[in-house]
């Protein structure tokens, strides 16, 4: 059994207790997307404002707010995500999402072993590409040791991806 401290790192508890970018944005113009974890009933609402949607991947998230309710892992992950993506382009966010999901992915070879055995996907913070660093999000690495909680960590990311994916103003996502 892994220790609680592996899961609930101090930075996670900090984001849980003091969530960043909590609230709503008027939608429209903001995109509003709901995500559900059917397993536990958690739901999350992501509001995003883009500077200019017509710019496609080059559009920038100018503001993001998080609503809904969930456990400390889903709330902290959403809070960290909101802080990480604000001010970045959709292309950069897509790269960050890929990196985060890779960190959260669980392979058969690591099911029994330590999460640390997962290859580091390579930090993108110093390559000058503009892709935001995982930074605080690294703290969620320990979640992989608790497989049932992985969906808690990825719920907000899937919801954001859905929000950015589509042109509809209203939509639902499922973890």
């Amino acid at each position: 059994m892994s220790g609680l401290e592996d899961l609930y790192r101090e930075i996670i508890l900090d984001h849980y207790r003091s969530p960043r970018n909590r609230g709503e944005l008027p939608a429209p113009p903001a995109r509003r997307t709901e995500g559900f974890n059917p397993l536990c009933g958690d739901e999350i609402v992501v509001y995003v404002d883009l500077d200019d949607p017509s710019k496609g991947d080059a559009a920038t998230i100018t503001d993001i707010k998080i609503g809904g309710q969930g456990c400390s892992i889903s709330q902290a992950s959403a809070s960290m995500m909101s802080a990480a993506v604000k001010g970045h382009t959709l292309a950069e966010i897509e790269a960050l999402t890929r990196e985060f999901k890779a960190m959260m992915s669980i392979h058969e070879s690591t099911l029994e072993g330590e999460a640390d055995a997962i290859d580091d996907t390579g930090s993108a913070d110093s390559n000058g590409s503009g892709v935001p660093a995982l930074g605080d999000l690294e703290a969620l690495r320990g979640v992989v040791k608790f497989p049932v909680r992985i969906k808690c960590a990825t719920l907000s990311w899937n919801t954001l991806a859905q929000a950015l994916d589509e042109s509809d103003q209203e939509s639902d996502a499922t973890a």
Binding site: M1, G3, L4, L13, E43, S72, I73, F146, C152
Partner: protein
Amino acid sequence: MTDTTHTHTLDTTRVKADFPLLASRGDLTYLDSAASAQKPRVVIDTMSEFYETTYANVARGVYGIAEEATNRVEAARAKVARFIGAPSADEIVFTKNATEGLNLVAQSWGRANLRPGDAVLLTEMEHHANIVPWQILAGQLGLEIRWIPVGDDGLLRLDDLDRLLDGVRVLGVSAMSNVLGTLNPVTDLAAAAHAAGAIVSVDACQFVPHNQTDVVAMGADFISFSGHKMLGPTGVGVLWGRAELLEAMPPFLGGGGMIEHVTVEGFSSAPSPHKFEAGTPPIVEIVGLGAAIDYLEDLGMDRVREHEVTLTAYALRTLGSRFGDSLRIHGPSEPAQRGGVFSLALDDLHPHDVSQVLDTRGVCVRAGHHCAKPLMKVLGVGATARASVYVYNDESDIDALADALAEAQRFFAL
């Protein structure tokens, strides 16, 4: 051998020793019997022994062990009938679980008897298994679904029952809530429903394992429950239905075992209950369920219920005095009105976080919406952490739960 040879209360130390998992995992505090119960040695051994000595398909072969296997299944059917006070073993349909029984009622009785615009009355505390089958049928036939509300005290609000029942053809009600523990007044509800011209389908999944059951006294038309919540194996459930209703109903699943005759033009059905048991049944599981019933009858269902009332009172008292307002226990406050199911809200902590801390102490509870999302909405929560007790639990398990909850409070220190 039930009554006089035992002391008045359950000897939980002895009971616990009958359960190999609990005996070998002294580090665990198992408080998730409302999801599934642990199995006594006698159930496991009976099933192994059956596989090793008697196993064959049933109702087919004329050779010795096939006949014996058939006899064992039919003996289990008779045992189930006696256990719930059913007038006849022919009224016992083996399903794979309670969910299948509830779906069978909706799709077989419902499709044959309901018309567009008919109303179905459910309660807000139903499990999805007694909601979604009716929603599916409502989509197929165009039915109206109404709801009996749940009050803050965890009890059904029945002041408006007559109006709600007007024009209703089916009442679907849980005998005991899997979230609140509430014991619903099924007998009264059934009488009112019958007076209004409705039939009654009861989800007795949480009730039958914990209470002396008398289907005749209950007055319902259909009662569904699962084997695995009553110390039996997974994969077997029971639907009891009144004989005249079962006889008139069309089959649910088609296949082998449920027919009387088949030609290229069509088929005729076997009589109930076999009409509703298409395909090879869960033979060994049925035999295992029979062993579980023997075990429960040995303990005595009156004593099981009494033990749980005592334990419920202890839990409500202990948790209440230790945590005060920081712990909310959903459901009725009076032990006589409820079973040993405790849905907890600790401060503002999320149930998943609470149960994660509990897990580090070996305390097994269920966190989530418990397949009762409409009820979660009524309670104003997304989920709860639920502890539930059974014959092998005692005060020490409640104390372990309380200690672990205190640890969760300390860990998150919000």
